[in-house]
Symmetry: C2
Subunit: 331 residues, 2 copies
């Protein structure tokens, strides 16, 4: 039998295990032109929380009682499609199933020569592209500028910081445990790192870490951390608004200091984005990221949870800061 | 004797007459290289409120017990500077004085052929440039798009709406009286206009006026009006954050719904600006505005208060919506 994870109900606030349902179904049978895929790695990402809510957004919501989808790495174990051979590994947006068929139209072949397969869900996949393109296209970093990254120990944040360093910027990371703060400095080369959970006055801590002010803020979290960073933003500052994980589980509209006066006072840009906006730049970006990875200029962390049954708990763990870098489930 | 208006104390909340002080001083005497100027028109603008507060901003605060400065039109009545002749009219950033001397370095000659002198404080001056450059450089309007303008009956807002129409957009204005709403449609050609003071559900009113959503929001006011517009913003929407007059007199940090989730959901750009950011484009912009004005494509309103003694009350009136279009004092 095949195993599938459905959206059982729409989460209210933080997702719980009961929002998901495991069901068994017959093994899929292959039609002409299709491939049969065996799941190896499943990406769990904060943005999936948005699709679990029934609200208009940039991608349609997941349907109730249907399989959830995310980025996955799978192996072709049977093929009636001449573009794919048995043994090929592919990445694609797939359903949370142990086995599934696919027409192959939106699958990308990947290989594990010199790089772990899971990297295609992270540094060479959506999270690496999000970091690179958000920083380059919106942040437009110039040598010597100061970048602050929130959610810095996450998959996107740790890549943003390293790319900032490669480009000659001063990089300050914000994270939620001392271990993460240490890792930002020792493993990823951040100049400064701040533990927001143990810091009383974040605005002052950022000021101390960035005495010349903040030129670029790569925002993964929103909320009060962002208030503290924006209070230190420089004239002509750029804010890449990538995520707002601190707000995703809010059940009422979150309120906070209005940003407009700061934007006017300092001629600041705030640009919300999703990585898909820059799809035409993916090949160039992946090439650059791959080169940096190969020569050791770029490192990454991943938290790999084992077992298909642990996909929901790994996803829920994202909102508890349980991951260092990219959260992936190995099936 | 000469007459001068000083900043007497820094306003708390809405400015009052007692924040200003009238003093008399001896008539200035002219040095070599200087001109003696007689004030004709004084511009009063919301942004001056910011300079009355002792806070770091894009321009330094006014000093206590020193003359206030703003854009003015004056006549050269004596000259020891070969660049200026008696009888020349100039525009420049000058002090609130009936007479003053000036080196002429940052003065611009203006002439009243075919256009009222006061226009150089409005549609052909800072407010016209703010409207044109904010809309073009940040809004990047494309034919057929929908523009919402708040503070639409103001000097900047009414110009934004007309330029939007010239460029083939649908334009919706928000203002605070029925007279202003009528004027937006009859005089300035706005497609729709909404009186925010008599409209209970602004979010719905904007949705009705902009059934295809809002592509560009030119924001002069901030606050709850902006919340209602942002709730209707389209994917890839652009928000030119020009002013926040609803917040300028706040004595505590104003709070409201956080914008980050909307920015991410719809890949929205918000860019705060002041017109000086685009100084290199002033000549081109003034040329275009002048041409549109000449052929009757562009109209403007101004509220002219008479008398040097009424400069403070005219300024205070800005925060009471007493002006239609540019507020100018004729001395």
């Amino acid at each position: 039998m095949n195993k599938v994870i459905l959206l059982n109900k729409r989460p209210e606030g933080k997702p719980t295990e009961s929002d998901f349902k495991f069901v068994e179904e017959n093994m899929p049978t292959l039609k002409e032109g299709e491939v049969l895929l065996k799941t190896h790695y499943v990406s769990v990402d904060p943005y999936l929380r948005g699709r679990m809510t029934e609200a208009k957004s940039y991608i349609p919501p997941f349907e109730l009682h249907k399989p959830i989808q995310s980025g996955m790495i799978a192996e072709v174990i049977e093929s009636k499609n001449s573009d794919f051979a048995v043994g090929d590994f592919i990445s694609g947006m797939l359903e949370w199933k142990k086995f599934q068929t696919n027409t192959g139209k939106s699958l990308t072949k990947v290989d594990d020569k010199g790089v772990a397969l899971s990297a295609y869900l992270g540094i060479l996949g959506m999270t690496g592209l999000t970091a690179y393109l958000g920083l380059i296209e919106i942040g437009k970093p110039k040598q010597g500028e100061t970048i602050v990254v929130s959610g810095a120990a996450g998959a996107v944040g740790s890549a943003v910081g390293q790319i900032g360093k490669i480009l000659g910027c001063k990089v300050i990371g914000i994270a939620g445990t001392d271990e993460k703060v240490d890792m930002l400095k020792s493993k990823f080369g951040f100049d400064e790192a701040i533990n927001y959970k143990t810091t009383k006055d974040m605005q002052k801590a950022i000021k101390n870490a960035a005495p010349n002010g903040v030129d670029i803020y790569f925002d993964n979290v929103g909320g009060e951390i962002s208030d503290a960073v924006l209070a230190n933003i420089n004239r002509f500052g750029r804010v890449a608004v990538c995520g707002a994980i601190s707000l995703y589980n809010a059940t009422e509209i979150p309120v906070g200091p209005r940003v407009q006066p700061i934007l006017i006072k300092n001629s600041v840009l705030m640009q919300g984005f999703i990585v898909g906006n820059y799809a035409e730049k993916f090949p160039e970006a992946i090439k650059q990221l791959g080169e940096w990875l190969k020569v050791g200029k770029l490192d990454y962390s991943e938290t790999i949870t084992e077992g298909f049954d642990h996909i929901p708990s790994a996803f829920i763990g994202l909102f508890e800061g349980k991951n260092n870098g990219k959260m992936v489930v190995k099936v």
